[in-house]
Symmetry: D2
Subunit: 319 residues, 4 copies
């Protein structure tokens, strides 16, 4: 496959070149923690709200439970939900309470990337530097002192646009390892028409179809194996369009295995550390597709965990 | 203080009376898990979206971290956030990775009621029965088989309305233990004017001012002690108005200590188990107040933890 | 296979019969929490200490880490160990400390049955009653009010005796599903000779060989599948010998699948709830076998977690 | 107070001097992970077993539960024990099981230093180097690749000797901030007589009395505040005596506040990183004192958590 401008480079050179050409560090001042979320303006939010014509809300998350895709690889397990008070305790008289009241309480233990998830800008580094030039040592065992999820608590409301790439290609789903090219993106937008136009501040939700296939057929290595996703060669398009965030229905947004030999999450390295573009993963797009909801008001309220480098999320698309 | 129709009753009689008069069980069929969220219609969502005129999103959550209000009482601790990969590991060479990429990952352990939170209908019972008549034994150590948070994943988008009760009374904050009466609610609505009208499907956010005071002065017993909140005598109003949810900036929505001697969360007992009205707690309303945002589009995407009886949340109000 | 006295009974009848004939409830008074640990006397401990002739200590635990046998079945995962301060933080300067000192700290999340483990008497019930006649409702979401592990904190020091059943049969390991009979036990003792005599207060460690095989060949379903183990027909022998505890190198002590159709942990049901005999699982006996250490001083200090119904352990055998 | 040879030095000079004079790095070869545990020989274990004359085992741990001493400082909370199956579930019929069997299961989340605890040699560093010269970067977010607790799984059985310092001084307990000097140690040994002699391979358990006082009076800042403990000036004695480990009934072994201005755990810095002497903390010595058990067989089987830098423990003393 051609990697365009990066075709004949080593992985190190390709990354250095993309860093030089497509970086946004400093664009929003030396104290910025929010990257391309700065592209979202009040006008953008008003225009996004005006897209609500049907009055239906969609959850873009999939369920978090023991039936999830995690296998324990990289220490990533499915969430462990446990009860600390139950109806059983009340009904059996184990825990007596007055006037017929009863309660149930619960706890949760989870890796913050175990399901539908958002990567904070503090999640990846390029040569020991993170977004906006902060040294990666700002992310210690005490959490992220820079670019933690708390900075985005109210900053991810905008217009969402769904690009259904396999539909454009006449497929149910892209095959694992398929690298989505800039041409694929452009042709999908053309085919979907005006409601699929992509511009400043948008949250682009890419459907590859992989999540739908795996939820039906069995997870397999969904949470850590090959997947369709963005080609390294789309980095220019991603920066030029000035989008606020990019999301997919896969575990890693970018194509896996990555395109450059011996490489590892090359697209993350540029998007998070240099471009400041937000990444959302494991998005359930199937209901949106059924409803042909190509553009919508996208809202996301990530739990405000101070210093977290990622967040389990349930984005709501409103149409 | 007068409890109106419940004034001369024992706590057991008051609860039984309220259960008879203000219950909604069965109203949405025998299989319902979502209670008064059923009042939210497509028309309601469209009308709510039309309230977005300024283009600003507000997070109604407060930060989750070690500086939070929990004291360990009832096993409720502040969330424990820990890193499983850090910038320190990358910068020090402890964890070598190729081509200059680096990563940070994290885990979280928390009680699901440790901060800004939503109570699922499976959180409280009345005489061993929960919402819609399900036996409370449907909530076992394996989680909630009925009325878990997953049923509301896309059901809490509607019009929000902020009622600033202390402002109506000329106060900065209501005192701890103050029981908000129906008259207080009605007068607050009148004083705020047409944008504060409350009706079917609304999400009513009550400001008492306690959160603001405690965040400035120190938490003290904020997460488990006395608080201003709803009087038992407002149960009729809460049901009659056909609201979808009620929220406060306190840990328990209802007045603490409760009004009937020896009682314990009497209002929860009716709202969750009989009325099916959703309860949201520990809401940060201060930014809404500063902005005079009395009505707004309210969106909430709770983490879709299958079988959870409550959820840590970050509701987004859009104005 | 013949089940002797229980041969022609239904599983319910067999359990009821064993409960009647081999129960010890009340034997040590109405307040007892420690069952057959009461058989261990000062004389027993002194005699056990006199077995230390070589001066070598053996750990009977296997390692707890991500490479362990758990698969997530029944919510049982391998332990999740995470760092809260690291050498990376110190070396990289992320966490500055005075005068060249540095620290590392860590956290752990685990099911208490995820590895080498001891079942407290509060771990299993017979018809809603646990050891000594306590109602099983004494074990609520708040933990075990009766028979928690804290009662045995200093009570599991005694003589240990290793019975190598496959060696007696000329095998490396018993096959999965093999039911060890009373005759197997008696013949193993005879073949091993006087140092294998079993009597009051002893801790009997049965080697089946399964752990050794699986640690070499891959865990497979080790933590939840078929295994060699004790036959239901050994219940009489186990009670008559007045041993303090029985241990195996398998996940469940008893043969899996159990012998009675549709049954589930039938031996546990009698041993824990009726006999009060302590059960230890997932014991690494390989080093003892290599050293031909058939009898030894057995010591065990389970973490004193108040109200826990089981404990991750590292028993030390001293020879 | 005089610090003897270290009296007129800055904290940096005192640490450098102690490191030069009292270090043991390399003594047991370049691959060693166990430090002074190497002083324990088979002869030592046999002699220790011969001390068992009464036949009584003592737990040296205190209970781990919500009533423990942790306050959340440094992210250290008391252990969070929660049930994943209960007697309530069985009795109420929430979780149906065949033939009358019932089960209870549980989970645990805890900082590994939340109670009676052993510090692995990977717990502290001196100028970015840990025991035996390993770089501290060997302790990353993935745990300790060197000197984790797993290396000591069977290495902490030896003779224990209890030194009751306040008793020697005619006190119930040493005051907070009292620095135990070499002279205090020598005089305590003399007063207790021959059974208190300290030598190669011994595990020295120092009683200060603080734990007993605080368990009666309230924890206060027990887990992180001032405490009696070892003076920096005892480092020579600790190394010369060739003991295997030193334990106290306080949270930090050494005197707090430390003796040198602006210092922080100066004794840990030398003992763990240079001497390789094992440290045990929060030991309950009260029962040993009542029984006048001055010497005993000490056994400890720490949970074999691979790569852990400390361990919750329940040492057993047998007399």
């Amino acid at each position: 496959m051609s990697l365009g401008e990066f075709s004949d480079m080593t992985v190190e050179d390709a990354i250095a070149s993309a860093a030089r050409k497509y970086g946004n560090r400093g664009k929003w001042g030396p104290e910025d923690h929010t990257g391309t979320a700065n592209y979202v303006t009040p006008e953008k939010i008003r225009a996004a709200a005006a897209l609500v014509r049907k009055g239906r809300a969609f959850s873009l998350a999939f369920p978090f439970d023991a039936s999830g895709p995690q296998t324990g690889q990289f220490g990533r397990i499915n969430p462990m939900h446990s009860m600390t008070l139950t109806g059983s305790d009340c009904a059996s008289g184990s825990v007596p309470l007055p006037h017929g009241i009863g309660f149930a309480d619960d706890h949760l233990y989870m890796p913050l990337q175990c399901g539908t998830q958002w990567d904070a800008l503090s999640h990846a580094f390029d040569r020991n530097v993170m977004w906006n030039g902060y040294p990666c040592t700002e992310v210690s065992s005490f959490g992220a002192r820079k670019c933690g999820v708390e900075h985005l608590a109210d900053r991810l409301t905008s217009r969402g646009v769904l690009l259904d790439v396999p539909r454009m290609k006449g497929l149910d789903a892209l095959p694992d390892g398929y690298a989505i090219s800039e041409s694929d993106l452009v042709r999908t937008i053309e085919r979907q028409g005006p409601t699929a136009a992509v511009g400043r501040g948008d949250i682009v939700v890419l459907r590859t179809g992989q999540l739908g296939v795996r939820r039906t057929m069995g997870w397999g290595d969904f949470a850590g194996g090959p997947a369709p996703g963005l080609s390294f060669s789309t980095l220019g398009w991603l920066q030029r369009t000035e989008i606020a965030a990019v999301a997919t229905d896969t575990w890693g947004v970018e194509v896996i295995p990555v395109e450059k030999d011996a490489g590892l999450f090359e697209v993350h390295q540029i998007l998070l550390a240099l471009n400041g573009i937000h990444i959302l993963e494991n998005m359930n797009t199937e209901e949106l597709v059924k409803d042909q909801a190509w553009e919508f008001l996208f809202t996301l309220g990530p739990s405000r965990i101070t210093g977290a480098v990622q967040a389990i999320i349930n984005p709501i698309a409103i149409k």
